[in-house]
Symmetry: D2
């Protein structure tokens, strides 16, 4: 029996492009009395893929919708997600010592402006335990050394599974994930790099930026891949700097750019607005 | 008989919101073997209106498509436009003495980065004749005084009709259109105001901005309505200024902001990306 | 006896413009073996005032420098401040229920990226006590009603005096200061208004902005004056929005703009980079 | 004999840092009854250099000022320029086929918003002759092939000398200057590179940017050096792009970013606001 008020849903999908996709999807919605409130579509001529995100209201149950989309997806070879609109995405945040990014994510969750449900904060240092706990989040200290790395990553992955985690955010986490862990978290781990990629890959980007004398500094939020600093870019932002800036000033200014870019990327991902298109992303922002 | 390569089309529409609109539109496209390349939809809960823009490829002729959309539009009480994608929109530009906006539009047309076909430049002064003519455009000098205003506006309107003009751009045109002419050009006349509306309405906004000591100056591209500076906003932009700026400096810096905001607004309008939603706009940019 | 390493100082001043000011100031510095590391000057032709800010290193004691500047200031009728570079400015933050601005200021103080020493947080509600206390700050609950306003403002002013407060920040404090208190805090109270002033003065600016259909939202940090929303502007910032934004979305996006503009204004003020020039400001950023 | 109204001057200088520089400069000005209207100083701890730019009004003649600065410069080992404020800088613009940058420079010169006096436009193609001539500028066609390059560069350098050129602007000039010519034009040739350096050096940066899936595109104005794309950066700017952008769209959007960054760099250089600090720049904007 349908409830009095319709549920609000998000369907995101991609598939090989061909005529009739939108008609099939909207037909599915129509047959469940779905009313579209916001939708975007895009066909990439380079990859031959078609992308669609639709928010709709419907009295249908999840089972009904799931069954219908499963059928459709088979016909069109779709990759898809169906979710309740506004449902907070189950997330863990990996940190080291720098607080600005995780502080921002925790604050936004509490303010109700970021649809995440942060299940835990994991640090390879103890530094940020008090911050996590102030926000009522369990803090797990998982130190990482060259010797313990495989074991540490196993613990991390176990945590991801135990807590039902959908998204892993590397909030200035100063450890490189192994290719195996990167693969295991494919498409559900977001890193913030403190430069405007592909500029200043690798270590100490603000020192590199200072040395080169750039007039803008940037930050890049991207999906984690085994190939460091080469993951699909979700969001980038910049801020203006001038000759008076030292590497330390750049670091402080950059912190704002980093947290802004990361928060946007996480929010878009949590609302199923980001779709993978080869090594690039479609962002229906 | 269909040609070998499909035509590329843009359909933009708005109508009272209800279930089934997208399905009906995509059904129409499917029945003409239309393939969607880019599409956006939005339902405004405030006004109860639904908006849609779809770019698609189809072998169908314009007559076939027109007939099909006409039928559909009747069922859903749609306001709609069907156009060939990329077709330059027939435009005239109204100017006074300031060259920066019209120069920008003419340059972009010639560079092929703005889909307009500027049929003429109309000035209430002779100042910009040489610029118009350099770009191969007829220049019409229609002076305006309090006495001649009705007659001047009649000449202008006649020109709009004779030249098959779809869009009138007021590129720092220093005359206020009468309520009658504003009504006659409803939804197809775009003005650039040299402030971040609703700040600094009326005359000499840069002097007002200087006096108030603002730290950003702006410009606003909007549809012309009888109610001056109150038309639906299409685009706004700003630039940073500091205490060293005089009103003259602000005017020079602002010129860049104006031409940028105006060019974007004109481009989006010409690509049928702007839809009226009461006194606001939907911009599928 | 001078110490081994020179002290680092900031001298900010304004006075009626006339030849010889910079020479006199630099002479004073030279006679104390001062070495200039950064300096800016500006003469405003509108107000006839001259402004200067200089950072310098010197072995001289504060007493020596104070005495020298006092002499000079008399000759040139200067308003001036001499401070140790980097000294955190003694500050209290006034709040109501919204956390984003005060959270940002507290975080930046702890991160060492904002030169303030927040002596207390004062709320007319209890809401933000836990946040203040997490950062180790005393929280004073001073409720305000129409009847108790004079008494509440007296308590506030007493606190300012008792704590040696140099700067009062209204971090989305939802009470209007009386003309008397505004006067008492002249030039040392900064408010953040959640619109791009002079647009959308008064109540509920994001609702006004939504209704007007603007394409950018903004925030304005300004000195508090008796004339509400008319104080000298220190900093403004904006962010892009589109037709999908509701007033609630605008409020959430605006929160980021507010905290950014406020933090910059507070930082510049604390570093003596902001000088009053009539109802406008000079910002040597 | 001094005129009734004082002249307006700009003095820009750099030298090894040590106490007393500002005092010496302001003393020089004071002894010529100079009144400072705007000034900035900066000492770079990395290079040990001190930089200063001062605008002042004085009745002194150029000869008097020149003699005084020459003396001073000897004492402090200064590199310096003394110029009449607002004097247009004698400039030639090198072009190939793309018009957007040169069109912008020519337009700004005519509008009086860029203090340059463009003496000629030089193209390695004939394409832009009509544009140059519309603005009343001589156009020199100097084709360049592998064989003729030395001879072409000699012609170019002769033109620079014959026309009294102070600044050479490479406005999307698609030829690489030889090390010899780069050296000959050291510090007086500005290039615009169509990427956010150091990202996407070399050929076809917009194709590289598209392939990498960046979310912002940029442009960089820099002094020409023998080491391609490594010259000191004067100005950078960016614009936001999304997944719908093709390399062609990026190219069109980027054209706006390029012309904006280039015009700012040229304007600042012409006003003696840019000083070389090793392989970086000081910009007193």
């Amino acid at each position: 029996m349908p409830s009095d008020r319709p549920g609000s849903w998000i369907l995101s999908l991609s598939c090989p492009d061909r005529p009739g996709i939108v008609h099939a999807v909207s037909g599915l919605l129509a047959s469940h009395e779905g009313n579209i409130t916001e939708s975007q579509q895009f066909g990439d001529p380079d990859t031959g893929l078609f992308f669609m995100r639709v928010e709709f209201a419907s009295h249908a149950s999840r089972d009904e919708l799931d069954a219908a989309v499963t059928d459709l997806a088979e016909r069109f070879t779709m990759t898809w997600t169906l979710d309740v609109a506004g449902r907070p995405m189950r997330t863990i945040v990996l940190v080291s010592r720098a607080a600005h990014c995780v502080n921002d994510l925790l604050f936004r969750e509490r303010a109700g402006t970021l649809p995440v449900d942060i299940a835990a904060v994991v640090g390879n240092h103890e530094t940020l335990r008090d911050l996590a706990e102030f926000y009522g989040k369990p803090f797990h200290h998982i130190p990482v050394t060259a010797d313990t790395k495989p074991e540490s990553e196993s613990r991390l992955l176990a945590l991801v599974e135990d807590l039902g985690v959908e998204l892993v955010v590397l909030a200035r986490y100063m450890q490189i994930l192994s290719p195996e862990l990167s693969a295991a978290l494919h498409g559900r781990a977001i890193n913030i790099h403190h430069s405007f990629l592909p500029s200043f890959k690798g270590a100490r980007p603000y020192f590199q930026a200072h040395d080169r004398g750039v007039k803008l500094i940037g930050a890049t939020a991207h999906y984690v891949t085994a190939d460091l600093d080469e993951g699909p870019i979700i969001e980038q932002d910049v801020d203006r700097v001038d000759h008076t800036a030292t590497p330390e000033t750049l670091t402080a200014l950059g912190a704002d750019v980093e947290r802004r870019a990361l928060a946007r990327a996480v929010g878009w991902h949590a609302e199923h607005r980001v779709l993978l298109d080869g090594h690039r992303t479609i962002v229906f922002s």
